[in-house]
Symmetry: D2
Subunit: 145 residues, 4 copies
């Protein structure tokens, strides 16, 4: 699935559309296979004990998969998450950022499915796994089979 | 499953344990069948367009099911979410709070499962459905079958 | 959501469309709120130990939610399951049928979401909880909001 | 996570424990990273139209992840599936087997999590994605972190 937006275009679009997350996320790498999104962990993302909270891990996967879909279909603000499934497997390490490794598994006419593996930076054991489905407005994309 | 904490005790415990969500949530009702948790919607919970964001809907279900488990097993801070599944079905109404209707489906020795239906106040069509599994520290509870 | 097919019409349609499950399932009750589907447990549904296997519990929820959607949109053979989430909470009782209590949470233009609670007959503690999303062919239904 | 059973030992154990699936599945490949399980598609696995049914895709992922866990913890018949999440993304091709690519994401003291990508043989676009959690009897394994 060819990419139609680059990292700078994606970042600019999402930060305009979602001003609240501005500065929270950074695209570390992006190609047709894999997008790596960094959550710049800040005090406000932490729960007691100093680990990133579940809702912030959810947000990292959600934004990352949204980025990867937009990279393929362009600036479509109306794509919405319809389903999310997450397994929380390990406590995030305190004091380091989280990195989400995102893959798009399906990009159809009305539904797109993406998968995320989330790691504490410097640790190869996943903190969480998430898969999410997005509903895409009619006409925004052609089915990729 | 008898309740061992009342609304005031639960609220106090959770607001001490999770200072960051202090003031976000209020237990509207709680008995052995159903717990109703209110998200007091504030500017910081909203995405562009004025609807509550996915991560905040996730947090409402997560906190609500956690409350309902603690009401049954007491002050156990170490229960952690291990799995979450959410269907986002409708756009939340803008300008109203969200109410999560929580039921506990299983309270076992090591795992508890809860279910949440989330509504915009004043609308009987669910905004979202969530189910979550919590891992309970050994010895914190007796299996309820 | 008004029903457009009755139990006999639904059963006849599904047994023609899915000859393989013919005789496995029976609609116990159906109204606008709730559909109860029985799995007539047979030797072929069991795993060692005499309990119904996971794939058969999956099938009960899947068929039940499909029935409940068809009851509302009519004879649409092309509705397909796009997502399923299941929590297996208790071992089914041996020697009794399983009953799935099905509710439709959303019936939209392109997606429908249903929820199932599955019980061993005569026991009010759920064996499993499932939610499933179906993709509906364009034009098969009008959005119900 | 080192393997303690080889393909022949696993196959023999599972076919003894689950006589009903005997002959349905074959381990194509297995190492510490990846297990590939084949569903030998047969008339009984098909729904009308000649594609493998949802319950059989569920079973392929379930058995494959179970195999991969047993390969690491040995002959533990009591591991049970507690949660499953599946995205059905494409119609399986008719007339070919299905191959599940299984990875173990976590092997803890009480819970193991595995992930499956399912393909029609000869097609690199996934038919389905599944993740499942298993509850492991106490003492059957040491946490792998």
């Amino acid at each position: 699935m060819a990419l139609v937006l680059d990292r700078a275009e994606l970042t600019e679009f999402v930060e305009q559309a979602f001003a609240q997350v501005k500065g929270d996320f950074a695209i570390e790498a992006m190609d047709e296979e894999l997008l790596v999104l960094r959550l710049k962990v800040d005090e406000r993302h932490l729960r007691p004990g100093g680990t990133v909270s579940g809702p912030n891990i959810f947000a990292l996967a959600d934004v990352g998969i949204y980025f990867a879909i937009l990279a393929r279909i362009g600036r479509v603000p109306l794509a919405v998450t319809t389903n999310a499934s997450i397994d929380f497997m390990r406590k995030p390490k305190s004091g380091v950022d989280l990195l989400a490794h995102i893959r798009i598994l399906k990009l159809g006419r009305v539904l797109a499915v993406g998968d995320a593996l989330i790691y504490s930076e410097g640790d190869d054991r996943p903190v969480a796994r998430a898969s999410m489905t997005y509903s895409i407005p009619p006409g925004a994309t052609e089915p990729q089979g």
